[in-house]
Amino acid sequence: MNAEMRAAHPVAKIRKIATFVEETHTEMGRKIAPPTRRAAAVAVIANPYAGQYVEDLSELISIGEQLGELLTQRAVHALGIAGPSAESYGKAAAVGENGELEHAAAILHPKLGTPVRRVLGKGAALIPSSKKRGGLGVVLDIPLGHKDAAFVRSHFDGMEVRIHDAPRADEIMVAIAVTDSGRPLARVGGLTKEQIKGEDGLR
């Protein structure tokens, strides 16, 4: 591929992909049946702009679109559910020390959401996100919110992920989390999932 073609169809150079599935069966001695479950899929990719200021970040924007589909599929597959059965979601990225925070923004914000919603069937709500720059083993707290109504209080949550050897200086770590449930033993009121109108992505 020449440079022009690469810019049109950039492909993420993936060093590794990690998936995590967490199930909570009890809290404070109380049984949770069925257990609450959440999954995260995390890719470690080369940062094409590491070490230099680049004005046009379109290559990372396109990589974000590719990873949106790949990582959502991985997360859903890890949960063993159909996409539309997912209840909440979130996304996050950590840029290695030779990159800038804006690189995370380029991956996460312009184009990543559309394929996520395609895999999940719907997704009227904003996909909550977090980003940071950090070294190897940095912790990412991926915020979670209900995929169809951001105000569903039982689904406000977060999932921590880390990979001990990433991101290297010239890498970016990109994470998508998907759940099939809210918090274990949620009981602080607010909008419930049964009350979702699903028109504006908020309620």
Binding site: I14, R15, K16, I17, A18, T19, F20, V21, E22, E23, T24, H25, T26, E27, P35, A78, E160, I163, H164
Partner: protein, 194 residues
């Protein structure tokens, strides 16, 4: 006999395509199964604890099977393994040692009679403690390409009265293994060592 009470599980899978060198095809895969259980002996010294090893056997088998499934379902594709435990602060290191027999037995059983001793590590620690679980070849401990480790841990475990149990399996050598030593192709397979 104390019952095994599970608070949570975590299954983690890593797929490693390269580490700066040639891209591996298929990629190396490592999987870790973690289960957080209540420590039936936390809070005081208990002399006789070894009965709990039998209670843990079904859980070990379930975890070993979940690893094989996570790695594609074929036990023959598994080449490396290891195990470990983190005991919460109200327990003692010896409680982690209860995992040696059921954890190791389970992986050998599921893999159809692996010969090498299962490499292991353990410690006492608080929530979020990380454990570097050592990994060696399942049939010959001296296979140098398969010396590896997988870092595992769970943010909110183990609590003081819990134990975090871990089993890990891998599908092959380090992604760019090239420091010589006994090769997997040279295993005699008699003593579990070479």
């Amino acid at each position: 006999m104390p019952e095994v009470q599970i608070r949570k599980r975590l299954l983690m899978v890593e797929e490693i395509f390269h580490e700066g060198g040639p891209v591996a095809s298929p990629p190396l895969r490592r999987a870790g199964a973690l289960v957080v259980i209540r420590n039936p002996y936390s809070g005081g010294y208990v002399e006789k604890i070894d009965g709990f090893m039998d209670d843990l056997k079904p859980l070990g088998l379930e975890m070993a099977q979940s690893l094989v499934t996570a790695l594609g379902g074929n036990p023959k594709s598994v080449e490396g393994y290891g195990k470990g435990a983190i005991v919460g602060s109200a327990g003692e290191l010896e409680h982690g040692a209860l995992w040696h027999v059921p954890g190791g037995y389970a992986m050998r059983e599921v893999l159809g009679g692996a010969k090498a001793i299962v490499a292991s590590t353990k410690k006492v620690g608080g929530p979020g403690t990380r454990l570097d679980v050592p990994i060696t070849h399942i049939n010959a401990s001296y296979v140098r390409s398969h010396f590896d480790a997988m870092e595992v841990g769970i943010t909110d475990a183990p609590r003081a009265d819990e134990i975090l149990l871990a089993l890990v399996m891998t599908t092959g050598p380090r992604v760019h293994a090239r420091v010589g030593g006994l090769k997997a192709s040279e295993i005699r397979g008699e003593d579990g060592l070479r």
